[in-house]
């Protein structure tokens, strides 16, 4: 283990464990009002009339007419209204906000408001959508030739469902006007995204907006774009009231009406000739929901990962993110990759079965190695540690032997084991980092020789305050206690980009390391010194072109192999997870405990996605699984034997050899789990979540 990897007490430990850390809902301000949103009850309708009750003194209604700037939220495409105009496009779309000094009175007023809708027929099923938001296609080699010459073509469609981030702290923000400026503070991942959105909605210059991140109770992508929407609504309310306004979502509101992972349908046509896979023709459909938010970039990543970790010479990949009258989907840890990795891992498994091979045998045959070409004709520039990972998994689990042993079981309890292999492309897709984000980070040495880190990346639990400080302290050769970082405040920190895409440590951590190296050289005792660093793309990167999806989509990749072992009770259709093992390469861990916490936590979220996290809407487009009673996430007893191990594979261009970590562990759990279920049930499966109800259907099918 490298020196830097030794764990240290986290910077945020004390305040969080003793309960003194202040999250947004813990803040009170003089004269603060409470806001609650009136959400559309219809999936598609024209609003013909809104009947308001008489408002007590001090209470007000805030809606589209109060938006002093543009009534659109600046995300990638500006299509999400701040407040609904004449129409609503999904159940939950914000129509107006009731604001006032007493939360319960606000609630009472909310219930007295009558909205008269002229209902229209909503499009709920993505297969019937008539609006394609994004449509991408790319090719490699000659797919038509591969299909024409194939002696066999496998065709199968795979389905994945919603996944809700289920961060423990719901969405919440406070906005307050002060000295002609607007401040918004609260729970978020990306202060500068919120900054641009608020300036656009209230119609002021960037200098008149201040965004402060408060201690944030988890994000997982759910606080990437959504806080931009809520911030516009709260800022508009605070401007109208000319007072601080706080909005905290309740759990049901958060689960039903905030962004989640895109449901998907992926159809794979795989050409086989002389027992060799010669090509994959892949069609991916993502349910975007009613507005575009982040669907373009989520889809891009999903498509780039569509052939998994396999060397496929002929590829044709097409994908569409389509509009439906459902809640807009957005970022969630993995960002499009869990959907296509599930599909490709399962089709490899199914092809192997048809060929009379074990899936691992087939997968090993096509696994990429260093120097191979990526799906987008870029290059795997660095070592690919999959073979060592497979060997380690086999040592830990006796995978190969069990896999054979579990075929052809009879009796009530049946075991199964499954394996997945996958990567996560580190950082933004394509040239986003170089052309759009252009990250800037600073460190400031104070006259007392303490050093402050100035960056816009938020510690949302992933330990960024600690790992940033460790990098700077170690590089400078000073004690960890002398380096500190506060929650980002756009008045004080440069735009080092958002806290997303497994980029913060690799990219911004790298800038901080360079800044610290410079400061070390120029160090002057007792003086204030500020060092600023700007992002520079590494020279080895083959420039990415989004038009034809060519070049290096990512500078490097984090790698993993997962195995999951299950035992199905064929009487009750319930499944016990006997063990879950993950070997992870995220480069050099900057802090072993922190990285283990990311791997274990992400892996368990992935197992939840695979096995129990079921969310769907009814015929009216209303999400039915809107609470922790109906949307089940793993507890401490669900996967008692979850083992994560780190494989050290330093990345030459990351700080201390680190690369992206946060998202990787979620990406491959679903195929490993479902492959294990197949092994136990002796059937081909093609959907996640794979719940006890699905097991029951298979068992009944087998019985009849």
């Amino acid at each position: 283990m490298e020196n830097i990897s030794g764990s240290i007490k986290k910077k945020d430990h004390e305040a969080k464990i003793n309960g003194s850390a202040l999250y947004v809902d813990d803040h009170l301000m003089d004269g603060m009002l409470y806001g609650r949103m009136l959400h559309s009850a219809k999936a598609k309708a024209r609003i013909t009339k809104i009947i308001l009750p008489e408002l007590p003194e001090g209470y007000l209604i805030v809606d589209k007419n109060d938006v002093t700037g543009v009534n659109r939220v600046a995300i990638i495409i500006h299509d999400t209204p701040v407040y609904a105009e004449d129409t609503v496009e999904y159940v939950g779309e914000p129509i107006l906000m009731v604001v006032g000094p007493d939360d319960q009175v606000v609630e009472t007023i909310l219930h007295k408001i009558v909205v008269v809708y002229e209902e229209k027929i909503p499009v709920l099923d993505m297969l019937t959508s008539d609006t394609v938001f994004f449509d991408y296609n790319y090719t490699k080699g000659d797919m038509d030739k591969a299909l024409a010459e194939a002696d066999r073509v496998f065709i199968e469609t795979f389905q994945t469902g919603y996944q809700e981030q289920a961060y423990l702290e719901t969405q919440g923000l406070i906005a307050y006007p002060q000295d002609g400026r607007m401040t918004v503070r609260g729970s978020m991942q990306c202060p500068y995204y919120v900054h641009s959105a608020v300036a656009n909605a209230i119609g002021c210059e960037g200098k008149d907006v201040q965004i402060i991140q408060d201690v944030t109770g988890g994000g997982f992508g759910g606080k990437e774009a959504f806080p931009s929407i809520l911030a516009c609504q709260v800022a508009v309310a605070a401007k109208k009231a000319n007072k601080p306004v706080k909005v905290i979502f309740d759990r049901r509101e958060d689960m039903e009406f905030t962004s989640k992972r895109h449901p998907s349908l992926s159809t794979y046509k795989v050409a086989i000739k002389n027992g060799e896979i010669t090509g994959m023709d892949i069609d991916v459909l993502f349910n975007s929901g009613a507005y575009t938010t982040l669907s373009a970039v989520v889809l891009q990543r999903g498509l780039i990962c569509a052939n998994g970790v396999y060397r496929i010479d002929n590829l044709r990949v097409g994908g569409r993110a389509v509009k439906t009258n459902t809640v807009p989907c957005g970022a969630y840890r993995g960002f499009g990759a869990p959907q296509t990795f599930f599909a490709v891992e399962m089709i490899m498994d199914h092809i192997a079965k048809e060929m009379g091979l074990d899936s691992l045998e087939l997968k090993e045959k096509y696994m990429v190695k260093q120097g191979d070409s990526t799906s987008t004709s870029g290059k795997y520039h660095f070592h690919v540690p999959l073979p060592e990972m497979i060997q380690r998994i086999d040592e830990l689990t006796d995978y190969r032997a069990k896999r054979k042993q579990y075929q052809q079981q009879i009796g009530r309890y049946r075991k199964g084991i499954g394996l997945s292999m996958f990567f996560h492309g580190c950082g933004f897709t394509g040239s986003g980092e170089r052309d759009i984000i252009k990250a800037v980070a600073k460190i400031r040495k104070n006259p007392d020789n303490t050093v402050e880190i100035l960056a816009s990346n938020a510690d949302i639990g992933q330990g960024l305050k600690t790992t940033f400080c460790k990098i700077v302290a170690d590089t400078l050769g000073i004690s960890y206690d002398r380096v500190y970082i506060d929650n980002p405040d756009t008045d004080r920190v440069p735009d080092s980009g958002p806290t997303v895409a497994s980029r913060s440590l690799m990219t911004v951590g790298g800038l901080l390391q360079r800044a610290a190296e410079k400061l070390k050289k120029e160090w002057q005792e007792g003086k204030e010194q500020v060092i600023e660093e700007h992002f520079v793309e590494p020279d080895f990167v083959i420039p990415f072109n989004l038009k034809d999806f060519s070049g290096d989509a990512y500078p490097t990749y984090s790698w993993s192999v997962n195995a999951i072992e299950v035992e199905v009770d064929t009487l009750t259709a319930t499944t016990k997870i006997l063990g879950a093992w993950g070997i992870f390469d995220v480069g050099v861990p900057i802090d072993m405990n922190i990285v283990m916490g990311q791997m274990e936590g992400g892996f368990l979220q992935g197992i939840g996605y695979a096995s129990m996290e079921q969310m769907d809407y009814n015929a009216k487009g209303i999400i039915r699984n809107n609470s922790f009673s109906d949307y089940i996430i793993p507890t401490a007893v669900d996967v008692p034997n979850l083992v994560a191990e780190i494989m050290n594979n330093p990345y030459t261009h990351g700080p201390y050899g680190a690369k992206g970590a946060g998202e990787l562990p979620l990406v491959g759990a679903a195929p490993a789990y479902v492959e294990a279920m197949e092994n136990a049930l002796g059937a081909n499966l093609n959907k996640v979540p794979f719940t006890p109800e699905d097991v029951m259907k298979i068992l009944q099918g087998v019985n009849t």
Binding site: I17, V215, G218, Q462, E600, L604, T635
Partner: protein, 156 residues
Amino acid sequence: MMINFILNGQKVVSTAKANERLLDILRTEFACTGVKCGCKEGECGACSVIIDGKLVNSCMVAMGYVESCTVMTIEGYRKTERFAVLDTSYASVSAVQCGFCTPGMVLASECILAKNPNPTEAEIREGISGNLCRCTGYNAIVQAISIAAKEGKGLW
């Protein structure tokens, strides 16, 4: 009607109505903001407090119930020697991530150890199974409680 109870070792009187949530009153009237609201329906455990030695979700407790009870929140518990042991053990394995479940999780840890100073891993997992954590995957928290059981000999 006044409601009298003992909060973190102090006798207190609340003017809250008997049907108000203990969670809300602890946070607003008594400024115990370490008691977190995660769902308000008794599912997540973020609002866990200890009432007369038992771990309960304070969102599911009406104020009328706490008359003459002893209520402990993280604000009181953090002053104890037992907390100091858990503080150190949680820190040693970095069991705190976003922190929102943590105060409740620490009080759940206390209740596990108070009942059984040498719990097995399965007993620890069972003991925190009413407290959801979305960040850690629970392994670090389970380890932290198990370390505290070893290091806190005699305290529980």
